[in-house]
Subunit: 408 residues, 2 copies
């Protein structure tokens, strides 16, 4: 008998019929002899409906009240799923974040889980019940309802799995696993049977939206095996664990990319110690994340300084940089919001040389100019012109032998 | 500075615009120097929407889960109202039943309040906040969410007023007070300035739906003055208190009626001690409330036994009575679901003789046959044919000098 946490997102519980289908899936696991804790999101559309009501009340709704409002979405789903299970003759019990209790800090709308009390859940499981927990929500030390931010249900599931020392955490989504790259860009993309947390983190932070980054960090920290599966079709999905692939593992596991990129360059800025902080300080103070950074070799006491930001923060970042440039007496600020980032990811890189060389050669052969480069131990990212995105992804997918139908 | 509890029903908070209007009303009371605790229901239509979802999941949804589901309705409203208040620059704080905490027994869907912790509410009030509490819901000793049953928000408001020793409990509804009778039946019906709890209880139990019976009992027990007001127009409403009207008070305060009546008669049942229990025992075991009861004088060892029930329980009661009649060897069971009950109500009756005589004479003059009679210290009810309802109400309204425009 294993203890399995299963998480179903908003699309999977989007209407009564789908909730019943989830109940059947969960029952099947229970009947196979396992203890099951289910984590659910709000029915798809519900969170948006509630946000619309909030915006009708106030331009900037009070955050404590926003959490009280939004948390009702998941509360509706847990009740409905339990009703479906009880209708099938299966004892079930729902838990809000408060009822568990999932204790968080008091940072409304983006709270962090501090502690999970497993007492009530364990006793419900031991009495043979299926336990259904509201994702995305918690409670602070004063009894205020908090939420973990969008996608927080993944985090709830992984955190619960860690607290309960579950054998596996199944994340049911609308895709059937993690792919070598986005199948909409490269039809020869393959589903991966296994991937490491580190690779998953790089894939997620590079634009693969299957799992929320924070939930992967949590799973890695507490070593909770996570399986990404489809709600709508059977299959083994992709298992995300700490274990690396076998010796035969490929050097590269996947090609990730992000279209949500823009770059800013400050030209002819006097080069002296602390210049990077003078430029990036005001940007980060505005809560704008800077990603790839490039500082040119200084020439005649002046240098060029380039960095990338999220495309939707481009305009704001450009305004800030304009003011900074005046102060620093730089020559000019230039921007480009038609760039993208393409990355090769794989723990196999650690033991294989020449990945970067292959990557650059492949892009060069396609006449794709590399504007910026950023590397980590298990990924190499390049910034290129937006129009080359599909070409670059397909060329790299082929170059690293990721094409094909057979599972790895 | 007074402490005032104000309750707004589902129609009063039916959309964002109306919630804003409620916020303004509440603010006005706050700006007049009072501490305000607001109790709100779910937005009109919301409870029905949730019930529909529940019924899509199960024919008889698990009651614990039904409470978890339905309680989200009020939780949405408290958050939205607080957002509206904060948008007006007014500090506000919402409380679910769990957060207060409003502790109830564990009788899901019809829980009873056992204790209210006033600690958190008082501290919010003392810091200058308007407090907004979800009506209709509570929490049992195990942390399960409970609901008080339909109309339970009135009970929440009165119970809170009692626990906080509030100066007044204002119930905002879609009518502007308690009337001498239903204005849809008698256009000369007048709004009463004052009414006693006892009269209100009789009016409510006799079909006047303005206040939930349980909330009036609660208010009477804890001596909480209750004012019934309109959400949509200004006015003094009707004050419900323990105090009787002045010496000049009329003998009768109002004419109440109920269309929701049916009667059943067991004919020719052998008369022996315990016969009433033999007949009514099986009926009450089926949870059917019996109202007016009439047993004829025995003749030749046999008697007729008649009682009234709610019209929607008529069919079930008739089936039960059929089985009982066979066992008791009674001659026949007859039923009539085209009867109504009309009542005159007034604490003034205590000190005025001849109310019954006037009532019977008035009905007699209109050729209305009285089928059954039931009396209490402050009301006389008669069961009559349904078709005479309007005629009876108007005749009695005039006979007891209730017609007119001027307030009492």
């Amino acid at each position: 008998m294993a203890l399995i946490v299963q998480k179903f997102g908003g699309t999977s519980v989007g209407n009564p019929e789908r909730i019943r289908a989830v109940a059947e899936k969960v029952m099947a696991t229970h009947l196979a002899g396992h203890q099951v804790v289910v984590v659910v999101s709000a029915m798809s559309g519900e969170t948006d409906r509630l946000l619309q009501l909030a915006r009708a009340m106030a331009a900037h709704p009070a955050e404590r009240e926003l959490d009280t409002l939004l948390s009702t979405g998941e509360q509706v789903t847990i009740a409905l799923l339990c009703m479906a299970l009880e209708e099938m003759g299966q004892a079930a019990q729902s838990f809000t974040g408060t009822q568990v209790a999932i204790t968080t800090d008091s940072a409304h709308t983006k709270a962090r889980i501090e502690h999970i009390d497993d007492h009530k859940i364990r006793s419900a499981l031991e009495s043979g019940k299926i336990v259904v927990v509201a994702g995305f929500q918690g409670v602070d030390l004063h009894g205020n309802i908090t939420t973990l931010g969008r996608g927080g249900s993944d985090t709830t599931a992984v955190a619960l799995a860690a607290a309960l020392r579950a054998d596996e955490c199944d994340i049911f989504t609308d895709v059937d696993g993690i792919y070598t790259t986005d199948p909409r860009v490269e039809s020869r993309a393959r589903r991966l049977d296994r991937i490491t947390f580190e690779e998953m983190l790089e894939m997620a932070s590079l634009g693969a939206k299957v799992l929320q980054t924070r939930s992967v960090e949590f799973a890695m920290k507490y070593n909770v095996p996570v399986r990404v599966l489809s709600s709508f079709q059977d299959g083994p999905g992709t298992l995300v664990t700490n274990e690396e692939n076998s010796v035969e593992a490929p050097r590269v596991s996947g090609i990730a990319f992000s279209r949500n990129e823009a770059k800013l360059t400050m030209i002819g800025v006097p080069d002296h110690p602390g210049i990077a902080h003078s430029i990036l300080g005001p940007v980060s103070e505005a809560n704008i994340n800077v990603d790839v950074i490039l500082q040119n070799i200084s020439e005649a006491g002046k240098t060029d300084f380039t960095f990338t930001v999220d495309r939707n923060e481009y305009a704001q970042a450009k305004d800030i940089l304009g003011a900074v440039a005046q102060k620093l007496e730089a020559e000019d600020v230039r921007g480009d919001d038609h760039i993208v980032k393409v990355s090769v990811v794989g723990v196999g890189m650690r033991s294989h040389a020449g990945i970067a060389a292959t990557m650059f050669a492949t892009l060069g052969k396609e006449n794709i100019n590399i504007q910026m480069i950023s590397t980590s131990e298990i990924k190499i990212s390049v910034v290129i012109e937006e129009k080359y995105l599909e070409l670059a992804v397909r060329a790299l997918h082929a170059a690293f032998n990721l094409d094909g139908e057979a599972p790895i």
